[in-house]
Amino acid sequence: MAFLARALRQSNSRLSSRCPAVAASCRWISPTAAAGSPEAGAAVAPADPEMPPPREPVGGARVELPPNPEDALEVFVDGHTVRIPKGFTVLQACEVAGVDIPRFCYHSRLSIAGNCRMCLVEVEKSPKPVASCAMPALPGMKIKTNTPVAKKAREGVMEFLLMNHPLDCPICDQGGECDLQDQSMAFGADRGRFTEMKRSVVDKNLGPLVKTVMTRCIQCTRCVRFATEVAGVQDLGMLGRGSGEEIGTYVEKLMTSELSGNVIDICPVGALTSKPFAFKARNWELKGTETIDVTDAVGSNIRVDSRGPEVMRIVPRINEDINEEWISDKTRFCYDGLKRQRLNDPMIRGPDGRFKAVTWRDALTVVAEVLHQVKPEEITGVAGKLSDAESMMALKDFVNRMGSDKVLCEGNGPNPPADLRSNYLMNTGIAGLEKADVFLLVGTQPRVEAAMVNARIQKTVRATQAKVGYIGPPADFNYDHEHLGTGPQTLVEIAEGQHPFCSALQSAKNPVIIAGAGLFEREDQDALFSRIETIAKKFNVTRPDWNGLNVLLLHAAQAAALDLGLVANPAESIKSAKFLYLMGADDISLDKLPEDAFVVYQGHHGDKAVYRANVILPSSAFSEKEGTYENTEGCTQWTIPAVPTVGDARDDWKIIRALSEVAGAQLPYNSLSAVRDRISTVAPNLLHVDERELPTISSEVKPPAKQQMSSAPFKTVVENFYMTDAITRASKIMAQCSATLLKK
């Protein structure tokens, strides 16, 4: 009996110890039991302890639901309700729900391939896991992303991907920013089951910018799609089949796109990496500085990655209105020019013709002395193409205080249309070009002048079959275009309605005319622009709701210079100059400069103009200073210093401020904010950072031009895409590119 009693007691205690747990687990697992009671309304479900709280969308993305509620649908991601617009994929729905789906081949800006299978998720009532990137979300779909089925599917895919992927992460440049590395931490097995030989693939030569290690390739085809869809250069393809499949060009060929560097960013593994950056640094050693690019007038948003005092690389930042997430090769690879040919000490040319390093005090004293010996009207100031608005403001104020009004910015031509902002800006906006259906390019080759603008035009042409007409010298285009003519004669024909292209313009809903800033250099530019305006009026290019009349500027400084009024005639100013102050201006013609003129060169690179300079004042480059730049669409942006400046160089505006004090005409500002206060009285739009100030007055108030139009054909403005300014001319990588990639 005692035995029985003991056994009963034991079982009892076991029972009693188990029962609460069972009850608790019941409460945990099935909350519906509690919800079943009449008091518990709909409010019970969100307070459910099992369900994690809803998450924020991935990357803080905002989803704009269409105004019509019928165009939106509701899906359930891991039990949470998400409202998304129609046409979203399952993967996008998950992103809205805050669930990051692993992926390799999917890229939001490229077409969907669906071949990596990494984004598999479980969908209720679907017999198999679903590739979420290619599956459109359907109303009421119940998507599960963290179930054992989904996890196992991803683990399986990962094992297959790692099967042929070399284990060379320690010597791979992608290490630390590799999608495969990151995702194998989440889904990779701790050991491999693969005992055969790994496959190996011959490396391809894609030119001086992109390094290939094709054995690492996982065949996501992002680069193939990028080359075809964004760069518009169909060089890359997927060759072979099965385990012999590889990315290549078949016939050996360099990648000749001006956007080729972007394949480095989109490659999820280390198959395509940066050749100049190879084995230079690891990404976790680098300090990122979010700044903008100044090598063209687009002002692409970039991140300058630096280690200590050295710029190691440049990568793009996302800005939907300007560069999306691409940058041109010139922007990406010009950085080694920042380390070469730099001016680091003030220097004076001695009687023997050699430069001698001196102190700032001596240099400024010499300049001030010479400045007082010349007549005020013989003083000329020239701002270079990389100048920021602050230094141009200081230069203008200084030269004006010395009694001269001859201040100009290179590239603006003899008589720039500076009176109305709409006459020198891209009024449609870079992103606005996507709405256009007919383009008329006058004297501009956007592919070399502003690669990112060209990428937008290419995107539009590809998406909507927009027509492109081009007037200018024969040029390379990466989209379908009609070459209408080479000179102003064609403009006349279009203005008079005799040209066959007129019918395209006539039927266009949103026509766009883009005139190149190269036309500013022509003597007859007033007549040309009035003819372009005639065309604009005739074909309804400028309407209250659409301004399609654009000017595509060439240089980063140009828009701000025109805003600030640096508009003197270069030929006359140079001819009469006895004291020439070049602020980074290297491309202005000094042929007409009098022999006895005194030239001060203030800049960061020993480039063309240094040969003529008497005094050199070293200044800092765009990566080393804070400056305001206005891009071709009128968007004001700041550069942020990423690295310390070299040697004894100073910011441009500070040098001029110091010189003004030595010369006895002190400028009334001592800080950057004070300079900006001064700018606000001249061009307040330059203070509205990251905003596009639209021109308010239309071009109709312009007086009619009385000039005669010459019949000289338009000229090519940018001969070498890779070398356009002092920084890129000093760059070794850009020199290699010009040698290998430019067509002879």
Binding site: G237, L239, G240, R241, G244, E246, V251
Partner: protein, 276 residues
Amino acid sequence: MLPPAARLAARRLLGICSSSASEAAVSRLAPFPIAAASARGPVSSARPFSTALNYHIDSPENKPDMKWEFSEANMKKVKDILSHYPSNYKQSGIIPLLDLAQQQHGGWVPVAAMDAIAKIVEVAPIRVYEVATFYTMFNRTKVGKYHLLVCGTTPCMIRGSREIEDTLLEHLGVKRNEVTSDGLFSVGEMECMGCCVNAPMIAVADYSKGSEGYTYNYYEDLTPKRVIEIVEMLRRGETPPRGTQHPERKNSGPAGGNTTLHGEPKPPPCRDLDAC
């Protein structure tokens, strides 16, 4: 080379045949001597498919800057092929055009031909290269006038296709995918061509008469002896009878005539629906 599992399977099957089945059954199953799969020596390092490499290497007869165009007669065929597709989907014609170009160019497509096709169908050349490298029946390096393709899939392999291939290679004195010095023959491997009932088999692509006289014939039920005879007949310019080479078989029927299905086959029994 084929996966080791297949070879293992072949060996197993052989073992089963020799040990358990009666002599008569074996002789019916295998009328010809079967070479032991394991007897085969190390496989040549050449790629098993007709594709040599997935990239182009310049050679005197294959350069991108050479001129290549369809002949006058074939240009008519090109127009006919393209007429099958909508004018905005000309690229659908890439495969038939590559085939035509291969027939015209003696069994292989040079890069120049692919470029010419790209121009005709208005796509970038790389899109044609992608197709040509994907399909193993497009030869991108030179082949012989008679391109002999040995089936290497499991049924043929079990029935001795390895030996057939070895015999061919030895008789012609070439390696796989290599052309004989007289330019007449080359030997390649193919995957299943659907003749398993008459295994082993080879397919002979005859490019000796251009795209007009182009033939693509199967020679089935081969023995090493017979395959040499076929090669010699081809060398003499004769046309060996295509199909099964077994003296007693007709098409894919059993040796010595039908053993079953002598009369009209009975129709299948049907349920009397009214009775239900």
